[in-house]
Symmetry: C2
Subunit: 182 residues, 2 copies
């Protein structure tokens, strides 16, 4: 990867988007050896509603740690898609939950979609791993971190009792995104 | 609170400093109704060693989300204290673990100390809540968020099976810091 790459994970509060961002940043820095910043901003509207977590990955120092022009956006809900797609760049990657985001934003984006939440719930068996399914998919689509680094970062961050569940969630998300890739 | 207030939580990787920062930011925004940004930067040195998590709290919009001049610093380890105290401002608050940080940085700081890690381990019974003991102490010392908001934010972020443990950790940290206050 060359230069600066900006990723935003968005959805509803409580969907684990902060953890997804932290894992992506740790995959980049700890396992791929490049630099990363992960952040979330909370406005007065933070109670309920749409929520986002941002990761900037770069092969050099990161001076400004907020998204300026989003390279890749995950939107798990319609509200998040409506709210956070405005600065997705021309030709940028958009990954949406095909069951929950029915109105796609206008613009020249590479849109990939599959039933992310439903996959977590019914194929993996726990809706709580929706964030890890989505993370696997974002790793597949962006290539911003290696698959190996991301898997290690997932396993280092999830509770020991749920290692296999999260590993499966990550791989299923990765594979489904590759199959659905725009 | 008026203006911008910058807080840094530092220690070793794996001590839960990201969660402490997230809880402080959510206390400010969701429960106290002011704005907050929480972030962490990972350099190529991210594997092992000192780790930090930053929170900016403000009564207005936050343009630059990184610490510029730290108002309050938690240092749970000597390495973190050495690495992250350089931009603590004149008259700023420094909270250190009295068992683990033996060399205090030179400067005109308000230093408060108690055995934070040991309190978690031996008084609360689980070293894993060191971050929540420290958070309670930072809430007490900084006053950047209300005690009520912080407690609500703690309870909203920790696993249900550990609510009482974390509540106790938060209050013990708060009370010990008040007693030890510089």
């Amino acid at each position: 990867m060359a230069g600066r790459y900006e990723i935003r994970f968005s959805g509803a509060g409580g969907q684990g988007l902060i953890l997804a961002g932290v894992i992506m940043a740790e995959a980049a820095s700890i396992y791929d050896g490049i630099q990363a910043v992960q952040s979330q901003s909370y406005g007065p509207e933070a109670r309920g509603g749409a929520s986002k977590s941002e990761v900037i990955i770069s092969d050099g120092p990161i001076d400004y740690p907020k998204v300026t022009k989003c390279d890749a956006l995950l939107a798990l809900t319609q509200e998040a898609c409506d709210k956070y797609s405005h600065d997705l760049k021309e030709g940028g990657l958009l990954l949406i939950d095909s069951d929950l985001v029915l109105r796609e934003p206008a613009g020249n984006f590479k849109v990939t979609k599959f039933n992310i939440t439903n996959t977590a719930k019914n194929e993996i068996g726990r809706e709580i791993v929706t964030n890890i399914v989505a993370l696997g998919a974002m790793v597949a689509l962006t290539g911003a971190v290696t698959k190996e680094a991301a898997e290690k970062a997932v396993l280092a961050r999830v509770p020991e009792a749920f290692l296999e569940l999260n590993k499966k969630a990550f791989h299923v998300g990765f594979d489904k995104a590759m199959a659905a890739k725009a």
